[in-house]
Symmetry: C2
Subunit: 419 residues, 2 copies
């Protein structure tokens, strides 16, 4: 497409999204659930067509590295998982229309808040076709229209899934334009999405840091995002040694590539000589490369020296930075300086220090005696997750359906006047 | 000051605000309340000095129009009201640290949310010295540091109040830099506030449309604001005539210059011939200029013709636009097209249409059988109001203490691991 035609295409699509959003905002729960189930049925029935489209994408994407290729690949099991995910979202409670805090005021009016959709949600993601179904489901259930732009390598897969989404929406009597998957792979379309708050109310970028930085810089509407997950576990002097070792190993080794994985271990000086040898043995067993401060290396000289840069690093890999600190204040100060306000945990049996850690660490998730890996929409009971936000505005932490909504005030009177 | 020195001054001030924010976020409720009361005491004790400073401002501001001069003027009663306002904020519940939704998950972890301050709040306002005390109080109580920039015409008054604020903070053991009132009237300082998200987390502009537009355009951090208050009352065919007349008169005439004043009256065609003559008589009695659609003028030819522009207009004056509509759908469509998502009301005895109006009108406050004038932080029970937001992100509608806060997730376990 030429730039003008991309721009025209996106304007038409944006206007259709706006119109669909009005209808979707007032769509009954029953219709939204029926659409989710109908989409799931169509995905199941169209599994072969979706897998064929995916094979086309994979053939064209010979240059991708193994990890990207894996994310792009669909299998019968992954197609079935997409359909199951849609049914799970259908089973979640509908947040829209929920009224809370409704109470009489002294004047006699009743005042409360009603949950409402945001409008049109734009999602920009990499070549992961399952995100197309997931994102469509969450936007639809939260009463928002969606504009989805997946990585161009997944174009045929996404179009095949989009066909199911559109048919399912229409079967349930909802506008097919409620979820629009871009039909163009032109990169200019991303710029168009970011430039038009009159069409898109919020952007959710899902992918690498480069994408998220670009979206944050260019978007003229709010962005739900996190840049880094430099998560810490602090083992306090009064930690239970068994719990501390188990949590610090789980937080690092359960999965290396996730944003809630621990990247720096902080350990209180009095407990370091006992805890570190146990921990280092476990990390070595798991093949984790260890980089420590001077005090760590005084306990175990085989640990590599950590540089200042290591404290800032989100390795997303079997590498761990370790620092011995002098007490809670130093741990909190370290987290404040180097952390990314994502998820930080303390391991301690001491109530006063647990209470201080929770209050004073300014992260989207703060934990006591639990693995940072729990920072997740499903683990928190949100039922689903569209992303994690490390910002303080609007959604914070794992973002489920509620993060895709807002509230309005409602007032019921019986002829009440202000005096 | 030169631009460089303004920039240096603002950087120093911003860094001090950041440091103060860390201390304020963990300040006990008792200390914050003690500071609020100490500030109130100092304002009462310094009433003469504040009034002297205000006289200096008034002498220098001979060119101001009467309304601006009135807002700039302090009297002994207004100084007493500032002190009373501080004590009222001290009496409000502290939102910070409140834990909600704490529940066990199937894994055994407890997950909940804790309310936290935003950090540093920047407030830019016009020459209304009482805002200095109000804004300081709300930021302090919500655990935020504040950077206040009031209109330059109120400079001496603001400095006199700032002296009391600083002394009160220090008397309660809190940093005097927790609330900083700019010591410069240099306009470049506003640009510096908007340019530095590393110092200021959120900006609240309070004042005319020009100020709010500039802040929205330039601010590199989130803005809590509303641009327009084009509020509607829709009198449905099934309205009780007495309630309808009383509400439509109150919504327009109780105060003309407020953002929650009705600017356009929508009236259902079947009830228009009965309701309009009663209403027009009341408006004329109150001296309201009337501008109506053709159907309105068919009922009363003395109503001036309304132009398309009238439907967009926030008069903030004794002027009213009136339109006869054909039923609820047309009323909702009118509000969607011309409204400002501030506050809209329906008057009806019909449950189905009341329910639809509440659900389908996408405004920050939606009312049934109540005057739009109720859209207000005090009337809603927030205890205070820093402004009204018509955005859907973060705070929406009247913004009190809660709008100046965020939440973090807290997780408590006892050695829990993710499997």
């Amino acid at each position: 497409m030429t730039d003008t035609s991309v721009s025209q295409y996106m304007a038409t699509l944006g206007q259709a999204a706006r119109r669909a959003a009005v209808l979707l905002a007032k769509a009954p729960t029953k219709a939204k659930n029926a659409a989710l189930v109908a989409i799931a049925e169509r995905i199941t029935a169209s599994a072969e067509a979706i897998l064929d489209a995916n094979r086309q994408d994979l053939e064209a994407a010979a240059a991708l590295d193994a990890a990207m290729r894996d994310r792009l690949t669909l299998t019968p099991a992954r197609v079935a998982a997409m359909a199951a995910g849609l049914r799970e979202v259908a089973a979640l409670a509908d947040p829209i229309g929920t009224v809370t805090d409704m109470a009489y005021r002294p004047t006699g009016i009743q005042v409360g808040r009603m949950r409402v959709p945001l409008g049109v949600v734009g999602i920009i993601y990499e070549a992961r076709p399952n995100v197309t179904a997931d994102a469509a489901a969450l936007c639809l259930k939260s009463g928002n229209a969606a504009v989805l732009r997946g990585g161009s390598e997944a174009h045929h897969s996404n179009q095949a899934i989009a066909t199911c989404v559109q048919a399912g929406l229409e079967a349930a009597g909802l506008p097919g334009t409620a979820v629009q998957v871009l039909a163009t792979t032109d990169r200019a379309a991303v710029g168009e999405m970011l430039a038009h708050p009159e069409y898109i109310d919020v952007i959710v970028p899902r992918g690498g840091k480069g994408l998220i930085e670009r979206v944050s810089r260019e978007a003229r509407m709010p962005v739900i995002k996190h840049l880094d997950g430099v998560c810490h576990v602090f083992i306090d002097a009064d930690a239970d040694l068994d719990k501390a070792v188990a949590i610090a190993v789980n937080a690092k080794c359960q999965r290396y590539g996730t944003c809630n994985t621990m990247e720096t271990l902080l350990i209180d000086a009095p407990i370091a000589p006992r805890a570190l040898p146990l921990l280092l043995a476990r990390y070595r067993e798991a093949g984790v490369e260890l980089r420590g401060c001077e005090s760590t290396r005084a306990i175990d000289p085989n640990v590599l020296p950590a540089t200042e840069q290591d404290w800032y690093e989100e390795y997303l890999a079997p590498v761990l930075a370790i620092r011995v600190v002098q007490g809670l204040d130093e741990a909190i100060a370290h987290i404040r300086q180097y952390g990314s306000q994502h998820t930080d945990a303390i391991v301690t049996e001491n109530l006063v220090r647990a209470r201080r850690f929770i209050t004073e660490v300014d992260s989207s998730s703060v934990m006591v005696n639990a693995s940072t890996r729990f920072a997740d929409g499903f683990e928190y009971g949100l039922g689903a997750e569209i992303g994690i936000s490390t910002d303080k505005f609007h959604a914070r932490g794992p973002v489920g359906l509620e993060g895709l909504t807002s509230q309005k005030w409602i007032v019921i009177g019986d002829g009440h006047l202000r005096t």
